[in-house]
């Protein structure tokens, strides 16, 4: 059991499964098929690409997580082919869009960014229980040492939302905060870098919210922030 928790990806997958099962009674069979299809195609794509390059198979935990996130955020009322296409886009983006042989865009978020640009509804269905998300999320932050990211995002955005007369505790997506923002490979390490990363995400999200709210401002903001990764890498001269 302890071995299971040693790899944080296992814990993330367990959390996503739990959130999925919690949401099922409130939805219908289409929701179940939607999520499972998204995960399946993310896994197939990752395995196919990896096998082509390395002639080996492996358990694609990252792809499972990506599949859950993409399928769990895009509205399952959208045409069914979208839960096939966008997980494929996410995994392809991870393998194709690289600098110095490393991907710098959060794969799931990249696919969601493309989806929101095309006015595809993001319903965030997998954000089914914020209390479980917050408890698990704080554990992830502790394990991954992402306090800078969380503070850098939460504080400025909360202040800006309060100035606008909006309750930040109702407005902030806890799923985004604790699952997407702190994704290890593309969010950088170190408290200061995390603080800057989080602040950029916070401010860009707020600007999108004010000026073009028809686009999902969290997804858009994180995409903009990911684009700053090459510059942040140079400034901090540390690997992500």
């Amino acid at each position: 059991m302890m071995r299971l928790f040693k790899d944080i990806k296992n814990v993330v997958i367990l959390l996503l499964l739990l959130l999925f099962f919690i949401q099922i009674p409130q939805e219908n069979i289409r929701f179940v098929l939607w999520i499972l299809t998204g995960v399946l195609f993310a896994v197939i794509t990752d395995l196919a690409i990896y096998y082509t390059q390395h002639k080996k198979l492996f358990l694609p935990k990252s792809a499972i997580i990506t599949g859950f996130i993409v399928a769990g955020i895009i509205s399952f009322q959208e045409p069914f082919w979208m839960t096939i296409l966008f997980p494929i886009i996410a995994i392809a983006a991870k393998h194709v869009i690289k600098i110095h042989h490393k991907h710098f865009l959060n794969p799931a978020n990249t696919a969601l960014f493309i989806a929101t640009l095309f006015n595809i509804s993001l319903s965030w269905s997998l954000e089914s229980n914020i209390y479980i998300l917050i408890i698990a999320g704080l554990y992830f932050v502790y394990r991954l040492k992402k306090w800078g990211h969380i503070l850098g995002f939460f504080i400025p955005l909360s202040v800006l939302l309060l100035l606008r007369g909006t309750n930040p505790l109702l407005m902030i997506s806890w799923f985004f905060l604790f699952i997407m923002l702190i994704e290890p490979k593309t969010s950088g390490i170190g408290f200061l870098r995390g603080l800057i990363f989080g602040t950029i995400a916070s401010l860009s999200s707020f600007v999108i919210l004010i000026f073009i709210p028809q686009y999902d401002f969290f997804v858009f903001g994180l995409f903009i922030t990911n684009l700053c990764n090459p510059l942040l890498d140079k400034l901090f001269s540390s690997p992500r």
Partner: protein, 116 residues
């Protein structure tokens, strides 16, 4: 003779007006208020071929209104009225959702349009 002509014209005018009134489509006005995290009312019922005018308002943040079956997707800004017009030419039960992220309860902002 002149009086007869006037009476004839008035009669024609009345007939024309009554035809126009009968031919004019019935406009069903529906007011929907969006707030974190619900639509009020969440169920709208209209008849087939009703000309529906939906007046959408938000009490707090920007929401969205997406009715896939009628290809409607619009944002609802706080303190502004969003008006959408369409003809309910399809019978059935059609879901609508909030299409602009409005907070942690966004996923539960749904409603139903029933066309009888």
């Amino acid at each position: 003779m002149r009086t007869q002509k006037i009476r004839l014209l008035l009669g024609l005018l009345l007939v024309t007006l009554s035809i126009c009134v009968q031919a004019a489509p019935k406009i069903k006005i529906c007011k929907i208020q969006a707030s974190q995290f619900k639509f009020m009312p969440s169920t709208i019922t209209v008849n087939k071929n009703d000309h529906v005018r939906m007046i959408l308002t938000s009490t707090d943040v920007t929401h969205g209104f997406k009715l896939e079956a009628y290809d409607i997707n619009t944002k609802i800004e706080k303190d502004k009225k969003t008006v959408i017009n369409f003809v309910a030419d399809k019978v059935g039960t059609f879901p609508f959702i909030c299409s602009v992220y409005c907070g942690s309860g966004h996923r539960s902002m749904k409603g139903t349009l029933i066309v009888k």
